[in-house]
């Protein structure tokens, strides 16, 4: 019987443009082609991706779009629907994001109704990391209301419980799944809160504790990735997910529905009694060492200054809220939230800015450092996966909605979510986040910040060091800092982007005045 599963895309999966065909002679037709060097790891990961979408998970969705220039767009129906045909290789988020999670050693939350292939995708990731399908399936932790910490981590040996005179003498029979490179927790929103806390320690700290014994979840220091599934991402489920655990999810990916046009494939699988995870081609499996190398290569992909600058600008919108506090530094959404206030109401009370154009007014929180780190890692990962030498803005735009979903929360009181077609964005959080970044980039261009970034220049001057700086020059820089503060003050309105600039200017002022005092004392 032919193995219909064993078909791996031919390399290269992302061909480069070339010149005229290189001449050849007939004798070459009868020679074995030069044994191809083993494909690079990025090529292997692309082959794994194409194997999954073409063979394993029936997913004809291409929601991660890449185009050079504007894609061909078709307006459909009379309610604003639009279908776009991207001009470059585009991808299914519900397959690619889990695959990138495997590559970077991240944590992926797969959400969606029952029977949408969430667990299947996670199990395939486990097989790609070197375990057999049976091992991976046995290691899947099924969330349920009676799941105890012992169920999750293992039990103390009864003999030791009787004989031990102190806790350190009690041996623990740890569960095998704890040290697997890919860990899968199904329906994590059905796990009791106490057990979730134990899970949090594993996810956040990489170890688990029982009876004073500690067990590392990643003993060889290799790449470890986590996959969680949930039917609900808005607080539903048997137990609410504790915020700290929810915040550990690097990316949140909705599972795609089944496309009825692929019904025949479904019938064929039932008739053959086959499961895709049992047919992963062996050449697609990554060794522990290859997983390490893959992670290192991804981390090494550079993120150029232009991209970093636009990301800085994007992040700057969200922390500040006018009337959030009295002291300038405390005018943040965190101040409001941690004192039990409602950020939406505080935003509404702000008459000092145009809330329609203030991107910060669309969210009820700012971004955590962890979210920013996640975004950087996944942007590097997708650039690497696409065979790019450095991270492009399109890479950031592609992963940003999945990395910030559940972390940057919409302010549903904002007028944006209250009228016309924009109401759709209240439920389609991914599109809203994508749009937020696009608008931020347009604003960045409109303000001319690529060519003119005075605060950035002042920070760069400081980064060059203070050695040898004369008192006169330090004074001149202090004046430049004050000039910039006056420039913002004269605008009348205050936005999040100004908040970060002003905070940075105050920092510069502190550094230079302290230096000046020292220089004057030193004579």
């Amino acid at each position: 019987m032919s193995d219909r599963w064993h078909k791996v895309s031919a390399s290269p999966t992302a061909p480069e443009a070339s010149g005229p065909p290189a001449p050849m002679v007939a004798e070459e037709l009868f020679r074995e082609a030069e044994p191809a060097a083993p494909p690079n790891l990025d090529e292997r990961l692309r082959q794994a991706y194409y194997w999954i979408v073409n063979r394993a998970v029936i997913s004809p969705y291409y929601d991660l779009e890449f185009s050079s220039g504007a894609p061909l767009a078709f307006a459909l129906g009379d309610a604003g629907a639009e279908l776009t045909l991207p001009s470059e290789a585009s991808f299914s988020s519900n397959v690619l994001l889990p695959l990138l999670t495997l590559a970077v050693g991240g944590k992926c939350l797969l959400i969606g109704g029952p029977g949408r292939g969430k667990t299947t995708v996670a199990v395939i990731m486990g097989v790609l990391a070197g375990s057999s399908a049976d091992e991976v399936r046995r290691g899947v932790q099924q969330g349920q209301p009676q799941l105890s910490i012992s169920d999750l981590v293992g039990i103390p040996l009864p003999r030791d419980l009787v004989n031990a005179s102190r806790l350190s003498e009690i041996g623990i029979a740890w569960r095998d799944w704890l040290t697997r490179p890919v860990k899968i927790v199904d329906e994590y929103n059905r796990i009791p809160t106490k057990t979730q806390s134990a899970l949090l320690t594993m996810v956040a700290e990489g170890y688990v504790e029982s009876h004073d014994q500690m067990h590392r979840t990643n003993p060889d220091g290799g790449v470890e990735s986590w996959f969680f599934t949930a039917n609900d991402d808005s607080g539903g489920g048997t137990f609410p997910v504790i915020q700290a655990l929810r915040d550990r999810m690097d990316v949140t990916v909705p599972a795609a529905g089944f496309n009825s046009r692929f019904f025949d494939e479904l019938v064929a699988r039932i008739e053959a009694g086959e499961k895709p995870e049992e047919h992963v081609p062996v050449e697609l499996v990554f060794t522990r060492d290859e997983q390490r190398r893959m992670r290192d290569e991804i981390r090494a992909v550079p993120m150029p200054h232009g991209v970093r600058r636009r990301l800085e600008f994007f992040f700057s919108h969200f922390e500040f809220v006018q009337h959030g506090g009295r002291r300038f530094e405390y005018r943040t959404k965190d101040t409001v939230t941690t004192s039990g206030g409602r950020v939406g109401e505080v935003i509404d009370a702000n008459s000092g800015a145009d809330l329609e154009v203030d991107l910060g007014a669309q969210t009820i929180n700012g971004l955590s450092v962890r979210s920013l780190q996640t975004l950087i890692v996944y942007a590097k990962a997708i650039a690497w996966f696409r065979g790019r030498d450095e991270v492009g803005l399109e890479d950031v735009a592609a992963v940003l909605p999945f990395a910030l979903r559940g972390k940057l929360l919409p302010n549903l009181q904002h007028t944006r979510f209250d009228h016309g077609a924009e109401r759709e964005l209240a439920t389609d959080v991914l599109s809203w986040l994508g749009d937020l970044f696009a608008v931020s980039c347009r604003e960045f261009d409109a303000l001319g910040l690529t060519a003119n970034d005075p605060v950035g220049q002042l920070l760069a001057e400081l980064a060059d060091g203070l050695d040898g700086l004369s008192a006169v020059d330090a004074s001149r820089r202090i004046t430049a800092v004050e000039t910039q503060i006056r420039r913002v003050a004269s605008a009348g309105k205050l936005y999040g982007r100004d908040f970060d600039d002003l905070t940075a200017l105050k920092y510069l002022h502190q550094r230079y005045t302290a230096y000046l005092r020292w220089a004057e004392r030193a004579g």
């Binding site: 070339s18 010149g19 005229p20 065909p21 001449p23 002679v25 037709l29 220039g69």
Partner: protein, 241 residues
């Protein structure tokens, strides 16, 4: 009917081999110690059509045998060059033409070459070779299809190259080379009578690509015909009135 990319010379007049001829070719290959299966795989790797290669080689070897040819090893390699080129491997064009030129007056091989290219007589082969010197897109039936040589591109939804009809083209330096613009992207087309190759270009080619080298493609009078309502771009050569 939805039209797909293809070469018009592969319609009526393309070599068709019987099962007996194919089996004979395999036997000759084995006799010569040459793996025809490997050759087919390499033809596909180089952008050619495996079935057409198999048919062209089989009829060529059949005709060569009928004409009393001897020395299977040499004949299989010689005719594989012709069959590979006929099957669309552009990279074999130079090798195939050189081999035909050198062995033009070897009667048995000449029969094999004519058959592999789908020509009924050696006289047609002579005209073909003469015309190829100045017109790389010529084959005997071209006038019957009003000078059209090949259709390239095609709609991405059917597994072809483009998501939008091409809207601009220009000649590139080098014979048989063109640039085509579709959906904000530039593509390079290399073509001759039997084969085409379309690859994405990293950037827009220089608009003044019409230097001395590109005159070779202009010499044949080749141009690209674009239509706003089709994802195909047609390579066309103006036939003399």
């Amino acid at each position: 009917m939805i039209r797909r990319p293809g070469r018009l010379a592969n319609g009526v007049g393309a070599p068709v081999a019987t099962d007996a001829a194919r089996a004979h070719a395999v036997a000759l290959g084995q006799q010569a110690g040459l793996d025809l299966g490997l050759a087919r795989a390499n033809v596909v790797r180089a952008g050619g059509d495996a079935d057409l290669f198999g048919a062209a080689l089989a009829v060529g070897l059949d005709a060569w045998s009928d004409a009393g040819g001897t020395g299977a090893a040499g004949a299989v390699v010689e005719l594989a060059a012709i069959a590979g080129w006929r099957a669309g491997v552009l990279a074999l064009r130079g090798d195939a033409l050189a081999r035909i030129g050198e062995r033009r007056f070897d009667a048995s091989l000449r029969s094999g070459v004519a058959a592999a290219l789908g020509f009924e007589t050696g006289a047609v082969l002579d005209e073909f070779l003469d015309r190829q010197l100045t017109d790389r897109y010529w084959w005997p039936g071209r006038h019957r299809v009003r000078g059209y040589v090949a259709a390239v591109g095609g709609f991405a939804g059917f597994g072809d190259a483009w998501i939008a009809p091409a809207d601009e083209w220009r000649a590139l330096p080098g014979a048989g080379a063109f640039a085509l613009h579709s959906a904000e992207e530039w593509w390079r087309l290399d073509a001759d009578v039997w084969g085409t190759r379309l690859v994405r270009l990293p950037a827009e080619p220089a608009p003044d690509g019409g230097d001395a080298a590109s005159a070779a493609s202009d010499a044949a009078g080749a141009s690209i015909v674009l239509r706003g309502d089709s994802h195909l771009a047609w390579l066309h050569v103006r036939e003399p009135a």
